[in-house]
Symmetry: C2
Amino acid sequence: MDGPLELNFRHEVKGEKLVIAIAQDYKTSEVLMVAYMNKEALEKTIETGKAHYWSTSRGKLWFKGESSGHFQEVKEILTDCDEDAVLLKVKQNGGACHEGYFSCFFRQICSEDSVGQDAGKCNVRIVKEKIFEPEKIYGEK
Amino acid sequence: MDGPLELNFRHEVKGEKLVIAIAQDYKTSEVLMVAYMNKEALEKTIETGKAHYWSTSRGKLWFKGESSGHFQEVKEILTDCDEDAVLLKVKQNGGACHEGYFSCFFRQICSEDSVGQDAGKCNVRIVKEKIFEPEKIYGEK
């Protein structure tokens, strides 16, 4: 139904209540990444217009692009039928992926030719081009 | 790296180890839905070429479209940098959403005009058209 914003933060990681958040390029519709948001991350995203997530590994609010400058300008936010996931349409500055790719989904598991085969025969292969060198953005590890 | 298929089923719901699975229209790139897969669901998806998920509410394998006929033919599968999520490019038969929409993301939280405002002022509104009547597909509730 239409109405006030009330999402179902039903995904729980280490005690934090979360929704799944998918970021998608607002022009090409390429899916860039998927992460989680808690209520604070969603509110910060709406209020600043820049995507904020909840880092489940670090257990804290994560302003995407804070260290790299590769932030995401939010153009539209949608939610799904269960209201436990959001879809952000964003303008991605730089690349979404810390490994140097525009999208985090740069590895293919199956092509149309390999669907229908034994899953054990699948090979993962890189199918996108790198757009930046991570060590130049994040520093040497 | 390129190599054999080894995903990180790190998302745990009720003891089941899962990856996040996003389904996207293979032609228009519209995001259709997000759900989870366990290892068996991923293998069934690859081997049959039709999307299978893990239903966290029912605690069992979920062959998408089994009751509605609205199954998803898988054209390509990608994984992300953390290898804890998969992106399925699919041909969606009928609609992905049990509420009668092609995509489950049929409600808007924020438009470009409303980003930047207080999150408490957000209103959720339906921005897509229904393509089928659920009670005709799933029967009366």
